[in-house]
Symmetry: C2
Subunit: 326 residues, 2 copies
């Protein structure tokens, strides 16, 4: 179990060390990369020797952060993980470093407390929000590049200020980042107004397969393994599709069935407030959150669909109470 530190204690520890390695989670998103980038530039400004490491390549869209990535000649004395909630999220390249992680800075209440010490703020919408407070407490000037990194973390983790995790603090921190020079017009265009051709190709196929059930309260999309292969859609493209059926007016349960290379169907269930997605998936051997859950169904399409729709209908008729979780 980690020692829980407050911001002042974290500042003290970081100021004492010189060679620092920052670790991101695998399949990196804007928050883990943005928080790492901001900490990287802040520690550099304090004269430290810093590098960043991630098990997966940092996507090219984040090149503007201009982060120095770890090379083998570097031997760090202090290891900091940012936005990594558990050991299983490090990936092959970073996991051995993570075993000796001195500090974790995070906003996930579910953090497994694998690091020696941690700065955890479960009320923050993004780790970048925690990082902003930390850098201010360190006396670091929030330069435009640091502001860009932190804006990226906050904006991506909140769906550009759209998700339920946004708080008044999210907006006041963002105002300060904009005043510090965050290039939010460029960043919003880059992060939210740009879709790959692959993504549009898979959207088209999803829309062609769209069908409605139970008085149009359930919308269902099926993607075959051939269609996925034909469009070249990757994990990110496919994840983006899963939110679509639920956003249709009047739809309470949105379902995406993605055929896997083995032939089985990976099912994503998204529900509107009050409908228990987890209850639907749990009866099919899956699980998740009450508005976003998943399961895998083996068998032909018609059988898989029938099994799924039976559980959806059951849940719509006899709702399983939703227990609020953290």
């Amino acid at each position: 179990m980690s020692e829980i530190l407050d911001i002042a204690a974290v500042v003290e520890r970081l100021l004492k060390v010189d060679n620092i390695l920052i670790l991101c989670h695998k399949n990196p998103d804007g928050d883990t990369i943005g928080s790492a980038g901001a900490l990287f530039w802040a520690l550099k400004a304090l004269g430290k020797n810093v590098m960043v490491l991630c098990s997966d390549e940092i996507p090219a869209r984040y090149n503007y952060m201009n982060i120095a990535v770890f090379d083998d000649s570097y031997s760090p004395e202090y290891i900091v993980a940012v936005d990594v909630a558990g050991m299983q999220l490090f990936g092959d390249v970073t996991v051995s470093w993570a075993e000796n992680c001195h500090l974790c800075i995070d906003h996930h209440p579910s953090n497994s407390r694998y690091a020696d010490a941690m700065l955890l703020d479960g009320n923050a919408a993004a780790t970048a929000e925690v990082m902003y407070d930390l850098l201010v407490a360190m006396g670091v000037q929030i330069t435009p590049i640091i502001a860009n990194c932190l804006y990226t973390g906050i904006a991506t983790d909140t769906g550009c200020f759209k998700f339920a995790n946004v708080t008044p603090r999210t907006h006041t921190t963002t105002a300060k980042l904009m005043e510090a020079g965050a290039e939010y017009v460029m960043l919003n265009e880059l992060l939210f107004e740009s879709k790959s051709r692959r993504r549009l190709a898979i959207e088209r196929i999803a829309l062609e397969s769209l069908e409605y059930h139970f008085d149009d309260t359930c919308a269902l999309v099926v993607l075959t393994k051939e269609q996925i292969a034909e469009t070249g859609a990757d994990g990110t493209d496919l994840e983006g599709i899963t939110s679509m059926p639920r956003t249709i007016e009047g739809v309470k349960v949105g379902i995406t069935m993605r055929q896997q290379p083995t032939g089985s169907y990976k099912v994503s269930v998204r529900t509107s407030t009050g409908v228990n997605a987890c209850a639907i998936c749990a009866r099919l051997g899956g699980g998740g959150h009450h508005r976003a859950s998943g399961c895998e169904i083996i068998g032909g399409l018609q059988n898989a669909k029938a099994a799924l729709l039976t559980e959806v209908e059951r849940e719509l008729k006899n709702p399983t109470p939703i227990e609020e979780q953290e």
Copy 2:
């Protein structure tokens, strides 16, 4: 020409009058309705007799504002227009009232100053931002319903904090509205996460017609009058489609051609930074802003498309300088 007032002068005038009519612009959006709703509830709290009037029906999605709409038995002594930049934007029902408009509250720098007096803040992202400052100066408590109205105005006019008009003040005002009880989770879902079946049907057709030109830097969508009729897509649905082609990775010019009932093509051109959409459309008899312009082309599809692509190619090869406007 209007007398230009500051906030204190506007407060003084509003406190002096009792029977107030608030006018919105036609084809009402979240900012004109939300600003009207906030002013309505604020004046009610001060014991005034207030009603709201719009030439078009207020869309049902804004029912949560619970605004009392004008009836004929009402005879107002003071008329306030909100978010209406010029006389031509009132519409048939409100235009006769607008001719005697005492006050206009707006954020459009292009406002034609038709009202006797005005409160204009061209740096505000939305009229709702100006309205927030006004209501605070009036000493009105920002209740949850007022916060919902103002949040709606700000969020819709900024594309949920995504557009270039957002400033630090936009975020700090939003933080205050959330603290005052704005139901942002419900509002974001209602305003940004909900699409009609008609909209998805026309998106599908748009994606099916998508074609690329000039090394994939130009993406073009064509919608025939039969397809538009078949899906039942309305103006809002079709407007939403026009931004799609430009958001594709690598695309600098996104074009949507919508066949009109007369057979001609209404063309929307959207460009990325540095490409002059207005120059393309101006050569075809249209115009607009430098990143969003339009024109109408008469003739068969192949001829219309050829004429358009010729101008796109010309602009990509020999860019017309963009003069920054207000």
